[in-house]
């Protein structure tokens, strides 16, 4: 793929030099016809042919979680878990990652089930994003998760990418992470010493880093079934309507006591606003324990912006992200309240 500045074709003949930057070849040009001869007037960056760069690896497709864990233990740091592969394969093509052993979990039947059990919605880590998007139980009990899934990438990506992959890749902008944080989601992991469950909030450590240990795989995502009077809403803000990462993602979840209209639980989670997806608890606390007054929402959204720690990058500056969050948090709460009022008697987050 060519990522180049516009360079006049004749400049190609006066190639100054090229620098091999690993994955990229940088060509610098000078224009000998201009008085400032010798100065660089153009550059083009060509990604080197990635297909050929991808290093050979051994491929395994275990049939049980146990087999997968044994393979992880046997092959150690050279091994990489493969779920949908939509992020991993791109990183391998670009030479960012070069695993020697790829362990594909897709043929483990137990890992892609979606079911209701003991007051939890349980989603297998290998369920595809599209399966999450359309599953009736997800829509009924975690509607904003289905909504966020429908906004992720393209249909092609959603048919391949998995919910577990979206979480383990641990992008601060992961579309499924903030709704799951707002829904008090938990993650179940399996390793050589057995299974453990952790609140999703504690799972993310930094960009691309989670508490998953080298011998562990993520097996299941658990969402408690919300009490009646609950609703949730996910707002994704991105310059393009589709096929884009969130510049800012906001997930709001609220439970109201029907009789008193008092907010008994408020959750606000943000994507792309810190090194990990985060909850903004000071903002949540303003809402809890009282009736929600529209005039106080400004205070809530200001606090949410204050609690976030966004970076400036190609998608937007930190300042801009904070301004957007102020608007989206308020909107998200309003939309959530609308949903609770529209559907009395149904617990539909």
């Amino acid at each position: 793929m060519h990522k180049s500045l516009r360079v006049n074709p004749f400049l190609l003949r006066s190639l100054e030099k090229f620098i091999d930057k690993g994955n990229f070849l940088v060509y610098l040009y000078k224009n000998e016809n201009l008085p400032q001869t010798g100065s660089i007037v153009g550059a083009s960056v060509i990604r080197s042919s990635r297909g050929q760069r991808m290093k050979p690896f051994s491929y395994f497709s275990p049939r049980t979680p146990r087999e997968a864990i044994d393979l992880l233990v046997t092959h150690g740091p050279g091994a990489k878990i493969w779920a949908g592969g939509t992020d991993l394969l791109v990183e391998m093509k670009e030479g960012i990652l070069a695993p020697e052993y790829v362990i594909d979990l897709k043929d483990i039947p137990a890992l892609n089930q979606i079911k209701l059990e003991n007051q939890y919605l349980k989603i297998g880590a290998l369920a595809t994003v599209h399966e999450v998007e359309i599953h009736p139980s997800v829509r009924e009990y975690a509607g904003m998760l289905a909504q966020a899934a429908s906004l992720l990438g393209s249909l092609q990506i959603r048919n391949k990418g998995t919910i577990g992959g979206n979480l383990c890749h641990a992008s601060p902008a992961a579309d499924l992470a903030s709704p799951l944080l707002a829904l008090d989601g938990r993650v179940r992991m399996s390793g050589k010493n057995g299974e453990r469950t952790e609140h999703l909030e504690n799972f993310f450590v930094g960009p691309g880093i989670t508490t998953l240990k080298p011998d562990e795989i993520l097996t299941e995502i658990q969402v408690p079934i919300p009490p009646p009077g609950s609703a949730g809403f996910y707002l994704k803000f991105s310059p393009r309507k589709a096929m884009d990462l969130a510049l800012v993602g906001v997930a709001a979840f609220i439970t109201l006591n029907r009789a008193s209209q008092i907010c008994t639980r408020a959750r606000i989670a943000l994507g792309a606003m810190a090194p990990t997806p985060i909850r903004v608890k000071k903002a949540e606390r303003i809402l809890e324990g009282k009736r929600i007054q529209q005039e106080r929402l400004r205070e809530v959204s200001d606090l949410a912006a204050e609690e976030s720690r966004p970076i400036s990058d190609i998608r937007g500056s930190a300042w801009y992200r904070k301004e957007v969050v102020k608007i989206l948090v308020e909107q998200g709460i309003m939309q959530t309240l609308d949903q609770i009022n529209q559907k009395p008697g149904v617990n539909q987050p």
């Binding site: 793929m1 690896f57 592969g85 093509k93 594909d104 048919n159 391949k160």
Partner: protein
Amino acid sequence: MKHQIHLQVNGEPYDLLVEPRHTLLKVLRDDLGLTGTKKGCDTGDCGACTVLMNGKPINSCLALAMEANGKEITTIEGLAGGDDLHPLQEAFIQAGAIQCGYCTPGMILTAKALLDENSAPSEEEVKRALSGNLCRCTGYVKIVQAIQAAARIINSSRTNQS
């Protein structure tokens, strides 16, 4: 080390020896000679390499050939029945929904998957379904029209048959 995989491509069974690092796209084009599937960005952004895996559109550049083991793959070559074009192919020609043609195989396969699930999609639904298929000539209007026209043709032929 090469692995043996078994898959169906356009209804034909194949037993292939593939290298784990080879993508489904590469195997379709280089090993099976099915060059109707195009290589565009090679990073899952453009949709030119779209094929159907068990009826669902995926980017074949983001799938290892190993992942197609035991699966049914449909490429653009598998859509026409002999000399009879698929109604979507016919509609693309009728509407002039082709410019350079590079995105067309992917567009048509995504559209087929859409029409298999939703026999009469709205303009908005067509656009949403196609959001992972980029047309570098930017000729989207006629593509959307062609897909809706194909939906009408398929539905009317169904009604006539019943």
